[in-house]
Amino acid sequence: MADLTEFGPRLAELVGRAGHLPIVVDAMGGDHAPGEIVGGARRAFEQLGIPIILVGRPDAVGDRGEVPLIEASEAIAMDADPTTSVRRMKDSSLVRGAEAVRDGKASALVSAGNTGAAMTASLLRMGRIRGIARPAIASPIASPGGTPTVLLDAGANAECNPEWLIQFGQMGTLYSRLRFGVARPRVGLMSIGEESVKGNKLVKDVHKLMSEPGWLDHVDGRFVGNVEGRDLMSTDVDVVVTDGFVGNVALKTLEGALEGMVKALEGIAGGDPVILDAARRLHDALDPEQQGGALLLGVRGVTIISHGSSSAWAMTNAIGLAQEMVRSGFVEQLTEVARLTAADTTDATEG
């Protein structure tokens, strides 16, 4: 394990107790940074005993208690161009955070900042898992009466080729199993109808590939055919695969619909405390913040991308999710799956 003495005895103690390297938290990312971010990190560190290192500008971070800090002089704005920012702002909190994982000082990165920049920094600094063509963002969708549905790609790759979607399906299946304990997750392909002839060219091409046997064997999942947007919150499917453009539109549509529904319910409540309470509970049950954040799958480290509007409470959840994913060995298992899949391809080519 890396030498963490520079970060003080308290961190070393928590690392020893938790059994994993610290989680680095981007103090400068998010609509409510750094206040809410530092608040959430402090709560996770002080009350839950999770080893954490903040990364950000010392003059901006404020009172961080005993939580150690990696100094970074720059912060990538929420609306900045991801690639240019990551390439040019080498001393930004996101880049320094991703480097801490790369350099073996941290096990995971959590950020509520610029999603594209978090993805790019993770990709360029941590690197891709060998065999994985493109990282994807996996976003859990609440599914009343069942385990959450994993939607991916939720926005990392606006344009995709069919082979990438096959990998998204494999990565999402492993994630569904390790995070939600789903046995043999059911994988669906997002389309505009259940019939295999429906959809655009990408969907039809992917459907053909997904109908072939074997592609989910190493992750122990099963393909259940095309699904539609309305199935996202159903209990009929565990993993929904789509390209990052459609996935992001679907995710934002769900979020907007939830807000609209809650407002409508409050409007018709007429001050009735029972209905108002139901509206609040409906929001809490389906709110994306409840899910802790999205996981970037396919890079050599755990990266949690939290909602831009994350509160301190949401950040604590995101940090908890990061710890859960580190402990699950997701990255190591995905690395092995990618290796086995590559070996299959080599065998098939040589055979």
């Binding site: 240019t84 390439r87 493109r134």
Partner: protein, 96 residues
């Protein structure tokens, strides 16, 4: 001033720069380094997309930057890099 101090030697030879570009591309694209030639087009021959090129220039900047402080590949120049040879020429020109 002695004559030899006027002779500015490139910190890397053409062969070294090509080897660097080829090896990084090999890592990024997960293909054998020996199959990569200087005349190869990133897009048409190597199937390298824009993200792969960003990974490549980052890797080159990091490695060459260790030998030549301040070395960087400008974003606006990326679209001019169509082939492996373009990348090698660009790096050598910047090192001059």
């Amino acid at each position: 001033m002695p004559a030899e101090t006027h002779v500015e030697q490139s910190p890397m030879s053409r062969a070294e720069v090509f080897a660097l570009v080829r090896d990084r591309l090999s890592d990024i694209l997960e293909i054998e380094a020996s199959t990569i030639n200087e005349g190869d087009s990133f897009q048409d021959d190597l199937d390298a997309d824009s993200l792969a090129l960003i990974e490549l220039v980052e890797a080159i900047e990091e490695e060459v930057g260790e030998r030549s402080v301040g070395f960087r590949i400008e974003d606006e120049d990326l679209e001019d890099l169509k082939t492996v040879r373009d990348a090698v020429d660009y790096v050598l020109a910047r090192l001059d």
